[in-house]
């Protein structure tokens, strides 16, 4: 009986892993296709696309598409711009949104329920509906920089960062997470005379690793994939991010190999960031049920 039960367990495991492996393959195939295609000349890439060869490093393999991609567009500059804008936005967003979430959950102040509701309501407003009013606003705002006081934020890094530091979703994530923290900890700290800032910095944030990772990854992806906003506010090539840069490759006759090489290159920072925070992200999903 024990033998049969053990066999069943083994079979169940085998089936489970097979299904999981198949699902993983479905998700990984587009990435493999992209990377493999980036090494192939266009003609071969298109022929291979209709067979399993599309996923294999076979045929005329070279790095020519990569060198051509660097010749066609300032790839390094675009990646730098995206990483800079995304990195700064993520860092500031974690700081501001976690502080806001802390204030909503732990500090008693008049109207916080109403303001939180209004913040949550912004989640249903598509960005496209506010893009033009935002453009009109930022094109007239003052900025104090190295050149003194200037008017208009267009063609800058800060125009791509500041409007996206705080957002309803990230604040909501922190609010939900903070609600599950033991209230006794906060109360004890208050009794001991700790200030709100001390509680935020020394108690709440050290306990918030998983939600910080989740918020960071979601924000990173949203910012790294920005297209419409940077297209509207960066007329100078020097400030363009990777997604606007992708358009450099869509000429009349599209060089698909170069497109794949460019996509492979710009995917690297995303993969690296995700792998770095993977453990905390999974822990966060497991503990809060948040889906990314």
């Amino acid at each position: 009986m024990a033998m049969i039960s053990g066999d069943n367990h083994g079979l169940r495991l085998a089936v489970r892993y097979t299904v999981l492996a198949l699902i993983a393959l479905i998700f990984i195939f587009p990435l493999v296709f992209m990377v493999m295609s980036s090494f192939k000349p266009d003609q071969q890439l298109l022929v291979d696309a209709s067979s399993l060869r599309a996923f294999l490093p076979v045929g005329d393999i070279s790095l020519n598409n990569y060198s051509a991609a660097f010749e066609r567009a300032p790839v390094g500059l675009f990646v730098f711009n995206s990483v800079l804008v995304t990195g700064v936005t993520v860092a500031l967003s974690l700081l501001i949104c976690s502080a806001a979430g802390f204030a909503f959950v732990f500090i008693n102040w008049k109207g916080r329920g109403v303001i939180l509701s209004v913040l949550l309501a912004t989640l249903i407003v598509p960005f496209e509906t506010i893009a033009i009013p935002m453009l009109l606003m930022v094109s007239k705002l003052p900025w104090l920089g190295m050149e003194g006081l200037t008017w208009g934020w267009l063609n800058s890094y800060h125009v791509q960062i500041i409007p996206f530091i705080a957002d309803g979703l990230t604040i909501f994530l922190f609010v939900q997470y903070f609600k599950d923290l033991p209230g006794e900890l906060i109360e004890a700290a208050r009794v001991e005379g700790a200030s709100w800032f001390q509680i935020y910095r020394r108690i709440v944030m050290p306990l918030s690793g998983p939600i910080l990772a989740t918020a960071a990854i979601l924000k990173f992806l949203a910012m790294y994939n920005q297209y419409l906003w940077p297209l509207m506010v960066t007329q100078e090539e020097g400030y363009r991010p990777v997604m606007v840069g992708l358009q450099y490759f869509f000429q009349l006759n599209i060089a698909w190999g170069e497109v794949m090489a460019y996509l492979s290159l710009i995917t690297l920072p995303v993969l690296g960031f995700y792998l770095y925070l993977q453990k905390a992200f999974i822990a966060s999903i497991a503990s809060t049920g948040v889906k990314g």
């Binding site: 298109l46 567009a73 840069g245 358009q247 869509f250 000429q251 009349l252 006759n253």
Partner: protein, 416 residues
Amino acid sequence: MKFNKLVASAAILAWASAANATETLSMWYHGAGNEVELKLINEVIADFNAAQADWKVELQTFPQAAYNDSVVAGALAGNLPDILDVDGPVMPNWAWAGYMQPLKIDESKIANFLPGTKGIWNGQLYSIGLWDAAIALTTRQSILDELGLRKPTVDAPWTKDEFMAALDAAKASGKYEFALDLGTAWTGEWYPYAFSPLMQSFGGDIVDRSTYKTAEGALNGEAAQAFGAWWQGLFTGGYAQSTQDGADRDSGFASGKYAFSWNGNWAALGALSAHPDTVFLPPPDLGNGPKIGAASWQFGVSATSKFPEGAAAFIEFALDDKYLAAFSNGIGLIPATPTAAEMVDNYKAGGPLADFVTYSSKFGMVRPVTPGYVVQAKVFEKALADIAQGADVAATLDAAVDEINADIEKNSGYGH
């Protein structure tokens, strides 16, 4: 007294140096990512900057696919450059929207330019192009011979019946997967550019050009309905594909998949290198004369430019035949003047692509010259794609007319 003289002299000097100061002209161009095009435009700018001291042009390039959106965003933010380039059929929209101002250049200099290169709206010149593009019915002499077909000429193009007989012969030969490559893999502007002239050759149009206030009768009239039925028949009859793989569009004619290809002069050299006996036939006369699309990218001056005279000076400078020829040699498009065409091996008399110059000047027809075109083009594309997929012709064209008319009404007639 001496001090006063000194101050006066200094003031005069300051004024004089200010008067002689070089003003910077900003320029936007759609060619980012296209190395050859960028090299050419940079050469024109460098020559202009070196040739005079009043103006200095500074270039900012954009990827073509994102260019129009960038200009619209720039206009909203009050951040347009002095000089911009604009796709010919889009120009009336930008002029109407207040993004562009009339172009003040010596019009005698463009008297011999191809008609499609002149961006005229409301009776005024707004933009001018250094080149034009043209479409031909591409095939091989050996195919014509093998199928026993008459080679059409400019004066005696194929009639609709002859064209269909040619497609029938190609289909019946069993040698080709499809008789005709229409390029349905390409979407967007390709549809109105390549296919609305076929409708015009039937006698229909995207919009009623006599008033530009309605599409009624033009896009759903008898001629347009006949075109729609014929268009649908190309697909249901198995002559062409309603959906096409991009790779087939790029290499299908070269590999012998198609007997005929409806394609532009930009693809002509590739076809010739695949098959040296490639011939570029005039468009068929489908009842109302042979027609092809005209107007490509052109240069104009933004409405907010502080230096329209400088911007116009640059554009006038760029109209020199040597630049028209250089662009043609570089990117394969048709030079705007016959004299420049003579400087280009491909397009000079007897050159392998000389037919395109003739087709452009004789059969070229600009797309509807109205600010509403940008919407009408999208409606037209959708209607043709739906009909190709089997949608009811009359109902689809009626729906397209309603959509276009609603847009015209919403925009108070677009100033017509």
